[in-house]
Amino acid sequence: MSMVIERETAAVTKVVLELEVANHAGVMSHICGLFARRAFNVEGILCMPLADASRSRIWLLVFEDERLEQMIKQVEKLEDVISVVRHGAEHAVFERLETFFR
């Protein structure tokens, strides 16, 4: 398996992952570490606590590639990750956010 994905050759399809996680210091490190180590590029990341303050929601914008399934399984294995839902790129969360980056 090749680990470094060239931007040009990577599939252009984007995927939005919606994670529900336990809300405490360290969760982000656990999650980001998994992606960084496999050189799996995370395009965008967003994290906010939920109404039930013991939980947070994390949104990740990633490129679809052959390793994504394995990536998701690794994320699901983390003790602090309660659920992972996969959305298409049409999901509004990052699109609306884009206005802040113009």
Partner: protein, 554 residues
Amino acid sequence: MMQMTGAELILRLLERQGIETVCGIPGGAILPFYDALGQCDTIHHVLARHEQGGGFMAQGMARVSGKPEVCLASSGPGATNLVTAIADAKLDSIPMVAITGQVPLGMIGTDAFQEVDTYGMTIPLTKHNFLVRDANDLLEVIPEAFRIAMSGRPGPVLVDVPKDVQCQMVSFEDYPPVAVPNALPEVDLLAIEKAAEMINASERPVLYLGGGVIHSGASHLAVTLAEQGGLPTTMTLMALGTMPIDHPLSIGMLGMHGARYTNYVLEEADLLICVGARFDDRAIGKAAEFCPRAKIIHVDIDPAELHKIKTAHVGITGDVTQVIEALLPLVQVKLREPWLAQVADLKQRFPLAKPDLDNPRSHYGLVQAVADALDDEAVIATDVGQHQMWVAQAYPFRRPRQWLTSGGLGTMGFGLPTAIGAALAAPERTVVCFTGDGSLKMNIQEMATLAEEALNVKIVLMNNNSLGLVYQQQSMFYGKRPVASKYKRAVNFLKIAEGFGLDAVDLDTAENPAATLAEALQRPGPCLIHCSIDREEFVYPMVPPGAANTEMIG
């Protein structure tokens, strides 16, 4: 209402979890806990001489008992010293709980004396880790640590506890319940049916067992499955002992140093039933060329292992015991005469060569002589190198948890402290540690721990005065240019052992080495058994790293 310090609370929770022995080294940031430990007479503390040694002792206990065991270290250098043993436990899926002291909460992040970010440092090495910021959280964190360590695929969990949290008073009504493993995942019966159909329809199936079979306690079931389905069975390095090596269906260990016939049988297989193994590169060689003719059934408790290296035709997430129990009623009794005859023919034509087997001063002969002097109750640990592979190839393993080796991380220095841990967990057994002169020096200080605990551990040192496996690789793949693999001076290990207070015998000078060896193994208590081994003896066959398993040399 109960009231106690965080340190005492940790201890009470360990007691409730059934912990009887802990291994470690004290230091400033964990002194409140050690002070509480000093007042406790239910838990025996074994003072290691290096935190890595303490970590491997906990592993040795866990590898023998199958339950999570505990090691301790102080902050900073104590925690960094522990890291290798934790990483080793992660790669071999060994349940372990490491408790480290940390600088007081208010000093975290100030580069305080002996402060390192133990939590951050151990994220990628642990199954999970905790930094406890309030002693009340211990009521939840300690049972959680045990639950996580032993649930599903086992692994190491680290709990980092700042010094002031250890001293903080906690009041509570009741202790939390004793942690138990999570309920097992439900078995997918459709997938089981599909798998059984594939087994029944296949003509040349091979059963491929991994360490998960041992973790699940499913060795007997795996043997029953093999017998019922007429399945030739190969084992990974981690799974040695699941099927007795002299069982007619055993085709021994596969992979880089497997016998030629084993790898050839896999080449012919039309179905591979992988149970609790993970297609590690040392076992399967070049992934694309492994079992080229076979469909794959893969059973693992960790869903992330399915389709990770090889795409399975049927992937079953589940506990090995439950999966085999569900499979057995559906698997037809088969004799598979043509296939087993073909396997027998390959075995006869390409067996494992074990030259000089009756000479107890040769590499295979020494392994054989140790086996001859012991029964199957003994525990066999190794370090890492040629000696490890010779033992894996030649020792007649016949029961699960008989064999303790560092498979995934391949850590030199594993052997002696792990053997000590094994003897702590099973004091009635003889524990042998096969080691090399390079590996032994990596945790040689634990000879002091061994002498102090007076355990029944026999260190069998195969001394080639070199980093043998490195020397072998350089000889075979780097134009015979040995670099930094031959020692220029020899060490007198007999004197060293005596200096630490161990009994020592030298097979080099023994008149009757087999008798000297047998006597030393039978005499209770710790002993170093020294034997020189020719540096030019290599481990064969060998699959060059990155090559297909059929491209064996030797």
